[in-house]
Each structure stands twice: as C-alpha cells, then as structure tokens.
C-alpha cells in the first residue's frame, strides 16, 4: 500500500466530481470513500477546514447526500446515508460513531423475506422493497461521544452533547446532554 493514501497526502482531486471540498480540508484516508455511491450533485459537501480522520466512512446510496459544516472534526463516524445527513459547523464526532438515516431493511416480516432473497448471493437487488428514510440533522457545536449511534429522523439541537455509547432514537433539544440505550436526558456531571 502507498502510505500517502492513509496519511492524507493523496490527491484529493481524484475524488468523485460530486464531492465538494471547502478550503483547508484534511482527509486522512482515501478508503473513506470506498462505499460512496451518491449520484446527487453535490453528493458530499465539506465546508472549510473540515478534518476527516482515518476511521470515517462515507457509505452513501445513489440518492444520498451529506453536508458537513465548517471547522468540524470527524474522527470515526460511519455515515450510512440513503437520503440526507447534514452536520452544522464545529461539530465533533469521536471514535466508533454510526449515523444512519435509514434502517436499510424493512421491519415487516414478509417484506424482510423479500429483502433477504433480493440481497442474497446471486439475488437481484432491484427486487428489494423500497427503503424508508428520514433525514438526520446535527446542528452547530454538537459533540458526539465515543461509540454513539444516531438513528434515522433524529435532529440534534445546537450545542447538545451525546455521551459515549448512547443510542439516539429521538430528537435531542438544544444544549441537552443525553446518555444510555435508548438515550435519555442526563446531566453534564453524569455524562462527561
């Protein structure tokens, strides 16, 4: 392996044309885009001075679109995006975080069976039932802790803190702290 591809010294112009980078961005690892399949324009927009570390993954479906605000630090988010995930400015996402705007499989049992067959080895993925998607919005100055998971349809209000290991299934108000699985309101003392 060429170590330039894992230390941020690779040629960012080799990214797909629908990836827009603001000035001063750092993208450590080229492989972060291995599962980037967006056909939207832009499919990904990074603001100015965004830092994208080794563990980040942009797993984006053809209809998916991600925007990241200025001065955000993405350490280890796995973005699983089928519609839209947007992050504000100065958002910090720590290690081993997952953010998804869909469950990526139906919940109804009969539909799951059709999905399993269409997805199986030798199956025809065009026969998959449609995905339910709901956009995820992370507002300015939010910090997302180690190993947290943020699920579809969630809006995290400005300045909120998501504790390590939290599984967020509902909206988080501005400035709130949440922790646990499922995530519930807590105080800063307990969560940090």
């Amino acid at each position: 392996m060429d170590s330039k591809e894992i230390t941020g010294e690779w040629d960012y112009s080799s990214l797909p044309a629908n990836v827009l980078l603001g000035p001063g961005c750092f993208i450590e690892r080229k492989e972060s885009f291995r599962r980037f399949r967006s056909t939207r324009d832009p499919g990904l927009r990074l603001g100015a001075n965004v830092i994208v570390h080794t563990w980040a993954e942009f797993s984006v479906e053809p209809e998916g679109q991600i925007t990241i605000g200025d001065d955000s630090v993405l350490v280890g988010p796995v973005f699983m995006c089928a519609e839209r995930i947007s992050l504000g400015r100065r958002v910090v996402i720590s290690y081993q975080v997952t953010i998804a705007d869909s469950d990526f499989h139906p919940l109804d049992r009969a539909a799951r069976r059709r999905d399993a067959i269409a997805n199986a080895h030798g199956g025809d993925a065009r026969l998959r039932p449609p995905l339910e998607t709901r956009p995820v919005v992370i507002e300015d100055d939010v910090w997302i802790g180690i190993g947290a998971i943020v699920l579809k349809g969630v809006r995290v209000g400005r300045g909120a803190r998501i504790a390590a290991g939290a599984v967020v299934t509902r909206d988080v108000p501005e400035g709130a702290w949440v922790a646990g699985n499922p995530a519930r309101a807590t105080d800063a003392e307990t969560a940090s």
């Binding site: 910090w143 190993g147 803190r161 922790a179």
Partner: protein, 179 residues
C-alpha cells in the same frame, strides 16, 4: 531503540520511546499514526502480549501506556494524555476505546484539543485478569479491579470492584465477587 518491525507494511518507524518485551507482538507502526507522546516511555509492553490490527495509541504529549504480560489487545484505541496502566492476563476485545474525554479526538501537534491537559492521576487503570467486551468504552477515572469483567458496549468511568461484572448502558454492577 526499537527496530522497525520485520513484518511491518507501514513505512514509518516505531517511535523510539516504545518498548516491546520478549515474545510480544505489535501489528504495525501504523498503531502510532497520531501518537504525540513525549514521555521517555510512551508504551511499554511486557512479555507474550499481542497487540493486533485495529489497535492505535493516540497519545497526547504526556500520554504513557504500560501493559503487562500475556495480554491480548484485539483492536483497542487508547486516546489519553496521562498514564494508562494495564495489568497482566488482560483481554481487550474488538473496538474497545480508552480515552480521557467522552468525545476524544486525535492529538494534533500545534492544534488546540478538546481533550484535557496532563494530570497527576492515571487516566485509566486495569488490574490483572480483567476482561473487557467488544465496543466497551473506558473513560478517565475508570479503575477496573483485578478479575473484573466489563460487558460489551458498557461505558465505565468509575471504580469496578475486583471480581465484579459490570454491564449495560447506563452501566451497572450485575455481579459481585464471592467473598
């Protein structure tokens, strides 16, 4: 001086302040991708300990990790700016993170960090014979007593008594050692 690992694929050397004991294994100098430790010994490892792919030492300038003998680190990220003390016969499963801050980020030289500055107390201490399950997070203040078990996905920033089992999120002690 630690020589370049003979099996390594990464073209940077292991930092000079890393000491690996006889019979121990380190997957790659890639583990020190973001290491900023300026301590005389950033990492010391005893004998017959394995540190496998996916492990990273994301140490701040005052970060310092000591690991005993016969440990297995399947893929742990340690992001601390103080001492981390790990005993012997310790098992750390996949995607375990040990950090000073709930939203830790890698240290970058010359950049501000949201992570706290150095402290006198160790960040995290794990006794002998401790097992830590996959995706557990050990935050500053975690003191896991000898023989204790931390369940998968559990977040610990408190003292776990020797021999106890702690699990769940929020964490609770689900079993205590027999007296």
């Amino acid at each position: 001086m630690t020589p370049i690992l003979s099996h390594d694929w990464f073209d940077r050397p292991v930092p000079d302040n890393v000491r690996i004991g006889a019979g121990s294994w380190l997957h790659s100098a890639y583990a020190f991708l973001h290491n900023c430790s300026e301590r005389p010994c950033a990492l010391s490892v005893g004998r017959n300990t394995g540190i496998y792919q996916g492990s990273f030492f994301e140490l701040g300038p005052q970060g310092e990790v000591r690991i005993g003998d016969y440990c297995t680190l399947v893929g742990v990220i340690i992001a601390c700016n103080g001492p981390v003390l790990i005993g012997s016969y310790v098992f750390l499963a996949h995607e375990v993170v040990i950090a000073d801050h709930f939203a830790a980020v890698p240290w970058r030289r010359g950049a501000d960090s949201i992570c706290p500055g150095p402290q006198a107390e160790p960040s995290v201490v794990l006794g002998d014979d401790v097992w830590v399950g996959a995706r557990a997070t050990l935050l500053k203040g975690a003191r896991v007593g000898s023989g204790a078990i931390v369940g998968a996905g559990t977040v610990v920033d408190f003292e776990v008594p020797p021999g106890a089992v702690v699990a769940g999120n929020p964490a609770r002690i689900v079993r205590r050692a027999h007296a």
